[in-house]
């Protein structure tokens, strides 16, 4: 047992040292943070506030999710908005709250680069989740993704979700009379 503590301690020191070495270089910091699941928030290349776009509080824009996630109702993939979709609005909307973040968006568009978003929601490769099937059944996006329209920083809805927690899927399937056959998702 004592040996394990020693190993753990050594590993901690190394990690700390590696972390300190990166402080100061902002880009490097972002990459380092992005690779640690705890800090998705600051790891995004652009501080994108979902609440500002999709929220229905005064001053928020109440946009439909599928304005940006354009293929959710016709594809297995919900779709990540192309940079041109962002620019479509932001070439005339400077972003009153965080103009510097909007400038970053325009910068990506100008350079013709994709925005390297950090993925928050991911289902394992051995499971298939057809978005359109769930939209067609009348589900709201929030039922799986949480109240995204209230989130300034997108986080996973529920630690139990975890991407691989099948019980979470199955509970919902059973409640709604959907199939609980394995091969519905695993093939």
């Amino acid at each position: 047992m004592r040996k394990h503590w020693l190993i753990g301690g050594a590993a901690g020191v190394v990690t700390l040292a590696a972390g300190l070495a990166l402080v100061g270089a902002q880009d490097a910091q972002r990459v380092a943070n992005a690779d640690s699941p705890e800090s998705y928030a600051s790891g995004q290349p652009i501080a994108f506030p979902h609440n500002q776009h999709a929220g229905n509080e005064p001053g928020q824009n109440n946009m439909n999710c599928m304005f940006c996630h354009f293929s959710a109702e016709r594809s297995v993939d919900a779709g990540i908005p192309p940079v041109s979709t962002c620019v479509g609005c932001h070439q005339v909307i400077p972003g009153a709250n965080n103009p510097e973040e909007v400038q970053k968006v325009l910068g990506y568009a100008e350079r013709g680069e994709p925005i390297p978003w950090v993925r928050i929601y991911k289902i394992s490769d051995h499971a298939h989740f057809p978005h359109m099937r769930h939209i067609a059944a009348g589900f709201e996006c929030q039922q799986c993704h949480g109240e995204v329209q209230q989130m300034e920083v997108l986080t996973e809805r529920d630690p139990a979700w975890g991407g691989d927690n099948m019980g979470w899927c199955i509970d919902c399937h059973r409640e709604n009379g959907a199939s609980d056959d394995c091969a519905v998702c695993h093939y």
Partner: protein, 1001 residues
């Protein structure tokens, strides 16, 4: 289960040991990035397949293709059902063209050879260099090329005229003797079009139309319709005459094992027995009769006489020798077959003119002149495109001299997109694009054109450029004025006439077919021959007693597909051997020489010798041995190089007269054992059914009263009844009620009696054993290859195994052939032996009757595979998908199917992803019952099958096609009555003309 360990507890124990087994993609290290498009492409929706039509350039047939792309990558090819050539099917090689697209050995960019090494250069530099050298050569420019579409041909002619060059077309496989025979006999420059479907008596004189030649896929479809029996017992008869049963021959009802080269004697003997009017060939015919035919062929007079009589009954059709029978008198043999057709009154009915691309080349004879020109210094710059003569022409002292002649040219340019033996000799490499990345067109038959459009952006690993664009740039550099800026524009302009407006052009791209006006000369009446023809058997080189037949491989063609792991690991449809080469030899011949299967022999002809293992084959004459083309490359990529032998080493370089075709049946050989042995890399368990009714047949005469058959077909095995709990049950219930079985526990599936039961029916009277289904399945379901060593250990991963059982083959006299093909995949048993032995419920039954395999549950005990009576479950012993599949071949993975890693069992899923896709569509469209329509779900094997033998659908709905097929009296399920597995896959028995005795016969 009573006391002792319970299944769930066992699962827990296993859970610990099995924790290491997972699927690729389970990694949680690091954050994954989501990269959006900057500007979205118009026709791409993430997660939704986009389909493009184009044309296959894998061989000269020109089949129409539908290419499925996902997120901009080509992932699967299917046949275009609208296309008049292929009519919806696709062969194995067509599928494998995808592996050429993603071939990791492709050239990474233009290169110049300096001091023996290749140095990367820019396209600008490369093109400047080419222009400079051509200028310096002053018109002494020559292009040697393979098959090209009409647009590229016309551009090449334009550019060559501008620079003062010339060109030669050379393809290793050609139909020149047939084409020349059609010209001589009927005065047409088109190939004969055979209406196989209408014939009731088809005789092939060494024409392997199911595997090579004008249109393998389309002819296979027509053949299956002709020879597949319908419910009224109408079935056409197929007779094969030739020294060796090719895949085509194995589909015959009768075999005349004639001596190599005696096709003309047989055809003329039959024609003379018919006694019809042979027009200007009357005098030829008078020199032949049944007796002379019998002497030349080694077949009895009675058999020939009887065949002639049946042929006269019509509607009949005879097909002349193809590439596998190109001997020194192949043109005369084709003329002889045309005389036979003419005498029997088939011309104008089953034989018309107008198939195949029009062409006036004399392939090898033209090549000989090109070689002569190069050797004598008349060529300053030689360019090679789409052909590989340094491999496909013999390099022996009596060979073509191509390699030496090429080496003597000052500047050699290759447009090869991947290394080959010819580009290895080139000074400048200008890598062409793969046809799926490039523009072009194809003229597969008179009156039909197809536009070849790029289905994706060029694979970014390779800096390639279309040859058309290079030529346009070259012409501009050399001062010519070209109207088109790009080759795409050039192709578009070529079709200004027939596709005037933009809408017509778009429609043509969408349907994949353009109708163009065509006129076919030739009256259908026999014309006097304008060149000397010898109808005698050709003289073979050497004085040995074994004649060598060199034939194109159904997998590799003439070698173009030798670097595709799909093709290498596809069991040869005849020999069932993968990867390496083999020599086919009759068991009687082998025994006389003390040779066993797997023995290495030295095969020596007057022109060369090579060492190759022997495979014993009863379907070849005792005085003949055969080698397939395609292997034995020296410089063709990581998989092809140093694999097997190149049969061309044994051949002389001879041009057949008068067609100028390369002669493939030219020499005798001696065969001596070397003393070495090897284990053949085969997945064949046995070529004998051992009295088990795996692929039973029914005689045509018995159709309509099958129930009178006394023997239920299980032979000796039935005697085991009641021994050791082995109790067969009455399983005569229909397929619909057989699942779930009475009293069976199927988890919590209370609704399993409702909804569809997915199943399949395969008509074995149509199946030709071509194995296209195997490659289609491999492409669709992310099945990796395992390599030759693993194959020898029986670890190949194919989900379909094409069983080939010999029932009757006689290589000594004319008699019936009975070979049974059976595509064996997971039978989706209603009472599956694999299910109760799985400790973790990784295999189980879905409510829809599919035996499912859940990869993420599987811990790899392999109990299921051991308990499967059909041996269709395959196991990932290693990380084949990681280790065997290099970038960018991984781009071909189907994103709808899990990529499996080591420790996982897998098998046919009935294309579950396609079922789900159709269900999703039904749900999104808001259809009431959410059940896909019949025919909406097409499995990959079914789509590809050129013979239309496979039908998938809902067995429980009596309206579906599959349910109706299952009602046929020919329907059976493999081993079902014996072991009560209640399979969901049904087979329809092969129908034979001869009596079948016993169940297995």
């Amino acid at each position: 289960m009573t006391d002792g360990i319970k299944r769930r507890d066992f699962l827990k124990v296993l859970g610990v040991t099995g924790a290491g087994a997972g699927l690729s993609g389970c990694s949680t290290e690091g954050a994954e990035r989501l990269l959006p498009y900057v500007v979205p492409p118009e026709d791409i929706t993430p997660g939704v397949a986009t389909w493009y039509t184009t044309v296959c350039k894998g061989c000269s047939a020109g089949c129409g293709m539908w290419v499925r792309t996902r997120e901009g990558r080509a992932v699967k090819i299917e046949g275009n059902p609208n296309h008049p050539v292929s009519q919806g099917g696709l062969c194995s090689r067509g599928h494998a063209t995808l592996q050429h697209l993603y071939n990791p050995d492709r050239y990474t960019g233009p290169m110049v050879r300096e001091g023996g090494n290749l140095r990367a250069v820019t396209w600008e530099d490369a093109e400047t260099l080419l222009a400079t050298r051509i200028q310096a050569a002053g018109g002494r420019v020559h292009l040697i090329h393979g098959q090209m579409g009409p647009a590229l041909t016309s551009l090449v002619d334009e550019v060559m005229a501008a620079v003062g060059g010339s060109r030669t077309e050379y393809e290793a496989l050609s139909d020149a003797p047939l084409r020349e025979a059609a010209r001589i006999a009927f005065g047409t420059d088109a190939l004969p079009r055979y209406d196989i479907e209408s014939a009731r008596m088809l005789v092939s004189f060494g024409n392997d139309f199911l595997e090579t030649g004008v249109n393998p896929v389309g002819y296979a479809r027509a053949f299956a319709r002709m020879s597949g029996s319908d419910d009224h017992g109408d079935k056409g008869r197929f007779v094969y005459a030739g020294p060796r049963l090719s895949l085509t021959g194995l589909n015959a009802d009768e075999w005349l094992p004639i001596r190599p080269g005696s096709e003309a004697a047989l055809a003329l003997g039959m024609a003379s027995a018919l006694g019809g009017d042979a027009g200007p060939y009357g005098s030829v015919l008078s020199a032949f009769d049944v007796r002379s035919a019998a002497q030349a062929t080694g077949i009895s007079e009675d058999a020939i006489q009887e065949l002639a009589e049946r042929f006269a009954d019509g509607p009949s059709l005879a097909m002349g020798p193809g590439v596998g029978a190109h001997h020194r008198n192949a043109t005369a043999a084709n003329v002889a077959v045309m005389i036979l057709n003419s005498v029997a009154g088939n011309v104008g009915t089953t034989v018309t003119m107008g198939a195949g691309p029009s062409s006036s080349t004399r392939p090898y004879a033209d090549m000989e002149s090109a070689i002569g020109a190069m050797a004598s210094g008349q060529v300053g710059v030689v360019m090679v495109r789409g052909t590989n003569p340094a491999y496909s022409l013999p390099s022996s002292p009596s060979g073509s001299g191509f390699q030496d002649a090429l080496a003597s040219v000052d500047f050699k340019v290759s447009f090869a997109s991947a290394p080959d033996e010819t580009s290895a000799l080139a000074d400048l490499i200008l890598p062409d694009r793969h046809f799926l990345e490039a523009w072009g067109d194809s003229a597969p038959m008179p009156g039909v054109r197809t536009i070849q459009q790029p289905v994706m952006q060029p694979v970014p690993h390779f800096d390639s450029k279309e040859m058309g664009d290079v030529l346009l740039s070259l012409a501009t550099r050399m001062g010519a004025t070209m109207e088109a800026a790009t080759f795409r524009d050039y192709v578009r302009t070529e079709y200004n006439g027939v596709l005037g407006n933009e809408e017509a052009w778009r429609t043509a791209l969408k349907t994949g077919v353009v109708d163009v006006p065509a006129s076919i000369p030739g009256t259908g009446a026999l014309q006097s021959p304008d060149s000397a023809l010898s109808f005698d058997a050709p003289v073979m080189d050497g004085g040995d007693d074994l004649t060598l037949v060199v034939h194109p491989s159904p997998r590799f063609g003439a070698g173009e597909f030798a670097n595709s792991p799909w093709m290498l690991e596809l069991p040869d449809p005849v020999a069932k051997i993968m990867w390496h080469s083999w020599l086919e030899m009759n068991p009687v011949t082998a025994e006389a020489r003390g040779i066993r299967e797997g023995d290495f022999v030295e095969v020596t002809s007057p022109h060369g010798s090579l060492e190759v293992p022997v495979w014993l084959y009863p379907g070849i004459r005792e005085d003949t041995v055969a080698l397939a083309m395609g292997n034995g490359h020296t410089d063709f990529g990581r998989w092809a190089s140093d694999n097997g032998v190149n049969a061309m080493a044994l051949l002389p370089a001879v041009a057949e007269q008068p067609s100028g075709s390369f002669v493939t049946v030219a020499t005798t050989v001696s065969v001596t054992p070397t003393g070495d042995r090897r284990r053949l890399a085969t997945n064949e368990g046995s070529s004998d059914q051992h009295d088990r009714p795996i692929a039973p047949a029914i005689a045509l005469a018995d159709l309509g009263h099958a129930e009178e058959e006394a023997d239920d077909g299980h032979g000796a095995l039935m005697e085991l009844q009641g021994v050791g709990g082995f109790v067969p049950v009455d399983a005569h219930d229909g397929a619909a009620t057989a699942f779930p079985l009475e009293g069976a526990q199927h988890g919590n599936y209370t609704n399993a009696h409702e909804g569809p039961r997915w199943g399949m029916a395969i008509d074995l009277d149509k199946c030709t054993g071509c194995s296209a289904c195997i490659t289609a399945c491999q492409a669709e379901n992310n099945i990796p290859w395992v390599g030759e060593d693993q194959v020898q250990m029986g670890r190949d991963l194919h989900w379909i195994r094409l069983e080939r059982y010999y029932e009757h083959i006689d290589a000594t006299q004319a008699s019936h052939v009975d070979v049974r093909f059976l595509p064996m995949m997971c039978q989706h048993c209603g009472n599956a032996p694999c299910e109760p032995v799985c400790p973790v419920f990784a295999t189980y039954h879905t409510p829809e009757g599919v035996n499912a395999q859940i990869y993420n549950r599987c811990v790899g005990t392999r109990y299921c595979a051991n308990n499967c009576p059909y041996k269709v479950r395959v196991y990932n012993w290693y990380r084949y998908t990681d280790e065997n599949v290099p970038e960018p071949m991984t781009w071909q993975w189907n994103p709808d199917v899990t990529v499996r890693t080591n420790g996982i069992m897998e098998k046919c899923s009935l294309c579950m992803q396609r079922i789900r896709d159709a269900e999703n569509r039904a749900a999104v469209e808001g259809r009431q019952d959410r059940v896909p329509r019949d025919g909406e779900i097409v499995t990959a094997c079914q789509q590809s099958c050129p013979a239309e033998a496979i039908v998938f659908g809902d067995l429980r709905n009596p309206e579906t096609r599959v349910a109706q097929m299952v009602e046929s009296e020919r329907t059976y399920r493999v081993l079902d009555e014996l072991i009560n597995t209640q399979p969901g896959v049904h087979y329809l028995k092969k129908v034979t003309f001869h009596e079948v005795s016993g169940g297995a016969h």
